[in-house]
C-alpha cells in the first residue's frame, strides 16, 4: 500500500512540475493563432513532388507547391493556379498557359515557364526513376524520351515561348488533361536550388530540408522532424498570400489509428487521417459532430485470375459476383458509410456514374453456376482467396466465404500473406481470387477503367478484350463529354458482363474533425486546398 502511495505521489510531483491540471491544448491555441494541427497517417518519404508516391505525401506537398492549375475547394474543378489563364487549340491538342507576373518561389524569385519545363524534363529523365513519370506520357514525345528512345528533349511537346507562357502539346485530345495537371508530379521545383545540393537529375538530392527548401505554394517548410512533426508556415511570397488565412499547418505522422484518435481526444489534433472501425459507432452515438464520413475515389474489389480452370468460365465469375450481399457487408461488417459497389468506377467520377451493374441476385447466381456444370456447387474445386494480412480484410473475406458457401455451395479457402509477398503473388499470377483496391489518381473514369486494358500494368487477372481496349482508345480521343461518357458506359458494361473482378464497395474517408475547422469540404479525391481553410473557435 505504501508503495502504491509512493508511486502515485511521484506522479503527483511530476504533474506539479508540469503546471498541475489541464493545460491549454494545442487545438485551443491553434484556433486562436490560426494554426491547423492535422494527423497525416504514415510518415512522408520525401518532399520532392517528382519522387512522392503516397497520399500522405500529397497531404503535405499540396501546402508547399502549386501547379499551373489549382483546385476549387468544393468541386476540385480546375481553377487558375500559377497560370492565371489558358487556351486550348481547336483540335484540343495544344494547351497554352499564361503565368501570373506575381507568382514567386519562397526565396522571392519569379516562377517562370523555364522552371516548369526544367521540372518536367527532370521527371522524364530515366536516371531519376520517378514513379509517376508515366502520367506525363499524354504529352507528345514524352514516353519516347522517358524510355530512352530519344535523348532530345526539344522533341517532347513542352515549349516556353517566353518566361510567362507554357505550351503543352498532347499525343491525342484528352478531356481530363486539366484534372491530370493537378497531380503533384506536374508541380514545379526550383532547379537552381537542387543543383546547389547535388545532381538535379538523380535521386538522393538533399534540397528538401528546412534550411534548403524552396517551394511555390501558399505555405513553406519551417521545420521537419521525421516521424514526429512537419511545420509549414504561411509563405510571404505566395501570390495570393492576402487570401491565405491559416498562419501555419502542423502535420503529425501517426501511423497507429488508435494513437491518432487518442491524440485527437487529448486536444492535440484538429483532424485525424483515419478512425478505427471499432470507434465509429461510439462517435456516431455520442459525438456525431466530430465524425465525418466523406465519399472517396476508391473501389474495394477482388481480382479473379481468369487463366485458372473453373474461374476461366464467365458464368462462374458472374455467379461469384452476384452471390454477394453488399448491403449486408457494408451495413453489418464495415459500418463506415461505404457504398455498395456494383461496377468498377465510383459513381460521380468526373460526372460519370456507371449504369451497368453486378447486383445481388442469388437465384441467378445459382442458375449460372448450374449452367456452368456445378449445380449447388457439386464438382466445383475449392477456391483460394488471397488476402494481405489485415483484420478488416479478413472480416470481409469471412463474410463472403460464408455467403458463397450458403448460397452457391462453394468452398472458399482464405490464404493470408504479408503485404509485399502478396504483391509478388499478384505479379506472378499465383492467385485465384485476390483482395484488391484501386484509388483514382484523378477524377475521371479513365483513371479507373484503364486498369483493365490489355496492356495495363495493373490488370493482373489475365483478362483482356480488344473491344474493351478499342472503346478506351476511342474515349481517350473523344473531346465531347457526352459521347465520351457513352463510350465509358459501353466499356464498363463489357467489363461487368465478363466479370474479371468482384466489386464489393466504394471507399469512404472516415475521420474526426473539430467544428472549428472551416472550409473542409467533402471531395472525392480527399483534396482540401489549405489556402481555403481557416479556423473559427466555436
Amino acid at each position: 500500500m505504501r508503495r502504491l502511495l509512493g508511486f502515485l505521489s511521484v506522479l503527483l510531483c511530476l504533474s506539479a512540475f508540469s503546471g498541475c491540471g489541464p493545460r491549454e491544448t494545442a487545438v485551443a491555441r491553434g484556433d486562436r493563432e490560426q494554426v491547423l494541427h492535422r494527423g497525416m497517417g504514415p510518415d512522408l518519404a520525401d518532399l520532392d513532388p517528382a519522387l512522392a508516391t503516397g497520399t500522405s505525401d500529397y497531404t503535405v506537398l499540396s501546402a508547399l507547391f502549386e501547379g499551373l492549375v489549382a483546385e476549387d475547394p468544393k468541386t476540385l474543378a480546375p481553377v487558375p493556379g500559377v497560370a492565371e489563364s489558358w487556351e486550348v487549340s481547336p483540335d484540343h491538342l495544344t494547351y497554352t498557359f499564361h503565368l501570373r507576373a506575381n507568382a514567386r518561389w519562397s526565396n522571392g524569385e519569379a516562377v517562370t515557364a523555364r522552371d516548369f519545363l526544367a521540372s518536367w524534363r527532370r521527371v522524364l529523365t530515366p536516371a531519376l526513376a520517378a514513379d509517376n513519370a508515366s502520367l506525363l506520357y499524354i504529352v507528345q514525345g514524352a514516353e519516347a524520351f522517358h524510355k530512352g528512345q530519344s535523348a532530345d528533349f526539344s522533341q517532347v511537346g513542352f515549349s516556353a515561348p517566353d518566361d510567362r507562357t507554357v505550351r503543352i502539346t498532347l499525343e491525342h485530345p484528352a478531356a481530363y488533361f486539366l484534372s491530370l495537371l493537378q497531380h503533384w508530379v506536374w508541380w514545379p521545383v526550383h532547379l537552381p536550388t537542387l543543383e546547389k545540393y547535388g545532381s538535379a537529375f538523380e535521386r538522393g538530392n538533399r534540397w528538401g530540408r528546412p534550411e534548403t527548401f524552396v517551394g511555390n505554394g501558399p505555405f513553406t517548410l519551417k521545420s521537419w522532424r521525421s516521424g514526429q512533426l512537419l511545420v509549414a508556415e504561411k509563405s510571404a511570397t505566395y501570390w495570393d498570400a492576402a487570401n491565405v488565412r491559416l498562419q501555419a499547418v502542423h502535420f503529425y505522422p501517426i501511423e497507429d489509428v488508435g494513437a491518432e484518435e487518442r491524440a485527437f481526444r487529448g486536444g492535440q489534433l484538429h483532424l485525424t487521417e483515419a478512425l478505427p472501425i471499432a470507434k465509429i459507432d461510439a462517435y456516431r452515438k455520442d459525438q456525431p459532430q466530430l465524425l465525418r464520413i466523406d465519399p472517396y475515389l476508391g473501389t474495394y474489389f477482388y481480382r479473379i485470375n481468369v487463366t485458372r480452370p473453373f474461374l476461366n468460365e464467365r458464368k462462374v465469375r458472374r455467379a461469384l459476383a452476384l452471390a454477394v450481399d453488399r448491403d449486408n457487408l457494408v451495413g453489418r461488417v464495415l459500418r463506415g458509410g461505404q457504398l455498395p459497389a456494383y461496377a468498377f468506377t465510383p459513381p460521380g467520377t468526373g460526372g460519370y456514374t456507371p449504369e451497368a451493374r453486378l447486383g445481388t441476385d442469388f437465384a441467378e447466381a445459382r442458375r449460372l453456376l448450374a449452367e456452368a456444370g456445378y449445380p449447388g456447387g457439386k464438382g466445383a474445386p475449392v477456391v483460394e482467396l488471397l488476402l494481405n494480412t489485415s483484420e478488416n480484410h479478413r472480416l470481409i473475406a469471412e463474410a463472403l466465404q460464408e455467403m458463397w458457401r450458403r448460397e452457391l455451395g462453394l468452398e472458399v479457402r482464405l490464404v493470408n500473406m504479408e503485404g509485399k509477398s502478396a504483391l509478388v503473388a499478384r505479379r506472378m499470377g499465383e492467385f485465384q481470387l485476390m483482395r484488391s483496391s484501386w484509388i483514382g489518381d484523378y477524377a475521371d473514369p479513365a483513371s479507373f477503367l484503364s486498369v483493365w486494358a490489355g496492356d495495363s500494368g495493373n490488370n493482373y487477372t489475365g483478362w483482356s478484350n480488344p473491344a474493351y481496349d478499342q472503346l478506351l482508345y476511342q474515349a481517350a480521343r473523344t473531346e465531347d463529354p457526352d459521347a465520351r461518357r457513352q463510350l465509358f458506359q459501353k466499356a464498363e458494361a463489357l467489363l461487368v458482363d465478363e466479370a474479371p473482378f468482384i466489386p464489393l464497395y466504394y471507399y469512404t474517408h472516415v475521420f474526426l474533425i473539430r467544428p472549428s475547422v472551416k472550409g473542409w469540404y467533402p471531395t472525392l479525391l480527399d483534396h482540401h486546398p489549405y489556402k481555403h481553410v481557416w479556423l473559427e473557435a466555436p
Binding site: 500500500m1 505504501r2 508503495r3 508511486f7 506522479l11 511530476l14 504533474s15 512540475f17 508540469s18 498541475c20 489541464p22 493545460r23 491544448t25 518519404a45 520525401d46 520532392d48 530515366p126 536516371a127 531519376l128 526513376a129 520517378a130 514513379d131 513519370a133 508515366s134 522517358h146 524510355k147 530512352g148 538523380e202 538522393g204 538533399r206 534540397w207 528538401g208 522532424r225 521525421s226 516521424g227 514526429q228 512533426l229 503529425y252 505522422p253 501517426i254 501511423e255 497507429d256 488508435g258 494513437a259 487518442r262 491524440a263 481526444r265 487529448g266 486536444g267 492535440q268 504479408e418 503485404g419 509485399k420 509477398s421 504483391l423 509478388v424 503473388a425 483496391s437 500494368g457 495493373n458
Partner: protein
C-alpha cells in the same frame, strides 16, 4: 581484465560478420522487393530504380559491394524508402530518441523493481511482500499496448496532465518511460526478491548480524551485492530488449525512434535500412552482454576474468 575484454571484442568480429551475412541473404530471399507497390511501376522505371540502387547486379556482387562500403567506409548505404537520406543519417536521427526512452525506462525499471524486490524480501510473507509480488505479476501480465493506452486515457485525456502522444518536452517522456519501465520493473522485482532471499539465508549474513551490524547495513552493504547477481544477468538482454522492443511504445506514443524504422523497414523491404538497424542492434547486444559479464565478475568474488 583487459585481456578478457580484448579477447571478447575480437570474438565479436566473426559474430557480426555472420549476422550481416545471414541478414543480407535472408532479407533478399523474402518475397517482394522495395519497389513492389499497390500500383505497378513501368518496367523502365523499375529498371532505372534497380540500377540506381545497384540491385541489378548479381547478388554476390551486391554482397561484396555492401561489405566493402560498410567495413571500409562505415557507409550503410542509401535507403530505398527515403530517397534523399542515407541509412547513417536515419540512424543518427532516430537512435537518440530510442536510447533516451530506453535509459529512462531502465531507470524506472530499476528504481521501482529494486525497491519492490528488496522490500518484499525483507518483509517476507507480510502484506508488503504480497503487494510487491502482485505488482510484479500484474506488470508481467499486462502488455505494453494495453498499459500505454490506459495511462494515456487517465493522465492525458481525463486529467490533461500530459500529451497523449509526441516527444517534445520532458513531460512527454513520463508516460512512455513508465509504460515500458513497469514491465521490466516487474521482472527486476521478482529477480531481486529471489536473489535477496537466497542471500539473506547465507552464513555471512548471520555473521554480520551477530557482529551487531544494523539491519540497513546488512541489507545494503552485505546482502544486496550478492542479491543483485540474477538482476545483473537479466539486465544485459533486458537492455537490448528495451532498445529493440520499443517499437510498440514508439508507435503508441508517436516517438520518432529507431524501433519504428526497424520494423517498418522490414515491411518496406528497405534492404539497407534493415541491415543497418540489425548491425546496430547486434553491436549493442554484444556490447551490453560484455558489460554484464564484467559487472558480474566485479560483484561476485567467486568469478574471475577467465
Amino acid at each position: 581484465m583487459f585481456r578478457f575484454i580484448a579477447r571478447r571484442l575480437l570474438e565479436t568480429i566473426p559474430v557480426l560478420f555472420i549476422i550481416v551475412t545471414a541478414t543480407f541473404f535472408m532479407v533478399r530471399f523474402v518475397p517482394g522487393g522495395p519497389f513492389d507497390g499497390e500500383k505497378a511501376t513501368t518496367p523502365e522505371i523499375r529498371h532505372n530504380l534497380e540500377a540506381y540502387y545497384g540491385l541489378n547486379l548479381p547478388l554476390h556482387q551486391q554482397y561484396l559491394n555492401y561489405l566493402d562500403r560498410v567495413v571500409l567506409h562505415g557507409d550503410l548505404g542509401r535507403s530505398t524508402k527515403y530517397a534523399s537520406r542515407t541509412v547513417n543519417e536515419i540512424i543518427a536521427d532516430k537512435l537518440p530518441a530510442s536510447v533516451e526512452l530506453g535509459l529512462l525506462s531502465l531507470t524506472v525499471a530499476l528504481v521501482l523493481g529494486l525497491a519492490a524486490g528488496i522490500l518484499a524480501a525483507v518483509k517476507r510473507n507480510t502484506f508488503l511482500d504480497y503487494a510487491a509480488s502482485a505488482f510484479a505479476m500484474t506488470g508481467i501480465c499486462v502488455p505494453t499496448f494495453v498499459l500505454g493506452p490506459l495511462l494515456v486515457l487517465v493522465f492525458a485525456i481525463h486529467l490533461g496532465w500530459f500529451s497523449a502522444s509526441g516527444w517534445y518536452g520532458w513531460t512527454d517522456r513520463v508516460l512512455p518511460s513508465l509504460t515500458l519501465g513497469v514491465v521490466y520493473a516487474a521482472y527486476v522485482a521478482r529477480l531481486t526478491r529471489g536473489g535477496m532471499l537466497e542471500v539473506l539465508n547465507q552464513d555471512y549474513i548471520r555473521t554480520a548480524r551477530a557482529k551487531g551490524a544494523s539491519e540497513l547495513r546488512v541489507i545494503f552493504r552485505h546482502a544486496l551485492r550478492g542479491g543483485l547477481l540474477p538482476v545483473v544477468s537479466f539486465l544485459g538482454p533486458a537492455t537490448a530488449g528495451i532498445l529493440t522492443g520499443s517499437f510498440v511504445i514508439e508507435t503508441i506514443f508517436q516517438i520518432p525512434g529507431l524501433g519504428r524504422e526497424f520494423v517498418n523497414s522490414a515491411f518496406n523491404r528497405d534492404y539497407t535500412l534493415v541491415l543497418g538497424t540489425v548491425i546496430l542492434y547486434a553491436v549493442l547486444i554484444v556490447g551490453l552482454n560484455l558489460v554484464v559479464d564484467v559487472v558480474q565478475v566485479w560483484l561476485n568474488p567467486k568469478l574471475k576474468f577467465e
